[in-house]
């Protein structure tokens, strides 16, 4: 160590400055590489789009079975979460998920609607689906499907009516690092 200090002291003023320049260059290079690596590897894997699609798929499979819409699921008493095999705790207030199922008649009037999860995602999804890329907003899947439902009057099947089924599913789950298992 003393030798290094002596080597530094023996140098002329210009050469001493070069040592500081060398340290500065090394610090800039290492700082740049370390920052880039940390930013790159600390980034989350984005799976919210996939989750929204999966939720859409689950809800769609639940509401449409054998190409027929399960109209019973639109009744007020129907427990969609339970009937669709979804976890109740994941769709409480402040949830990371949301879905809405809307049924429109052929004139575009809303006939029935069911929604679960964080209702604030509805407006966020409108923004995101309009092409705004907001990092902390949920990722959404919206599908519209033309369907036919056999109306029944006094238990007698009538002519099939044309309806529009719209399903919106959203996820804003980013995952979390935990320090200890609870």
């Amino acid at each position: 160590m003393n030798m290094l200090i002596n080597m530094f002291n023996d140098k002329k003023a210009g050469e001493r400055l070069m040592v500081f320049w060398w340290i500065f260059v090394i610090a800039v290079i290492s700082g740049g590489i370390i920052t880039a690596v940390l930013i790159f590897y600390s980034a989350d894997y984005e799976v919210r789009n996939v989750e929204a699609e999966l939720l859409y798929s689950k809800v769609s499979d639940c509401f449409v079975k054998n190409e027929e819409v399960q109209t019973s699921l639109f009744s007020d008493e129907a427990d969609i979460i339970g009937l669709c095999n979804l976890n109740k705790n994941q769709f409480l207030k402040g949830s990371k998920f949301y879905f809405r199922v809307s049924l429109y008649d052929n004139k575009g009037n809303l006939v029935n609607e069911k929604k679960e999860g964080d209702f604030s995602f509805e407006k966020d999804c409108q923004i995101v689906l309009n092409g705004v890329d907001a990092k902390h907003y949920p990722r959404c899947a919206l599908r519209k499907e033309k369907i036919f439902i056999e109306d029944k009057e006094n238990g007698i099947k009538q002519e099939k009516q044309k309806y529009l089924l719209e399903i919106l599913a959203a996820s804003n789950q980013k995952g979390e690092r935990i320090t200890a298992l609870g």
Binding site: I33, V47, E51, L54, G175
Partner: protein
Amino acid sequence: MGEFRLRSLVENKKGYDIAYENLIYITLNFIFFALLLYFVYRSTGSVLIYEQTYAKEISLLVDNSKEPMLIMIDFKKGDSIADENKVPLEKRVVVDEKSGKIVVNLAGKGGYSFDYFVNYPVKISYKDDGEVLKINIGEAINSGELDSTELGSEIGGIK
């Protein structure tokens, strides 16, 4: 001729100083870049990345499953990291069915948690000394007769 120059450089006080300075300069540079490369190498194979990847993959597989189903995934990398950190088998992947959470803990320091939204019973078990992770969705399936590699490639094997 070359040997003569080198000897004269070493025997000469000034020449000796120049050679010595350059040697120190090169050595310090070498140490610095070696440390930097080691840091980059450690970062790329970080436990944090594997914990997050496995947690998200398992959650998405569960969300995409149908009851009953047996999913087997290649867990070799996770197994080797957990072995290095001496994490017991039963604490590597923990499922909280009630809240719908999957926690992957390969470093023994808590781990990474990711939620799934379906309400199926999910059971985790291992095969081949922890190198294959079995995810039982719904009622348990007896997989004794089935080959893990076949299942891995057919039902969501992650290589």
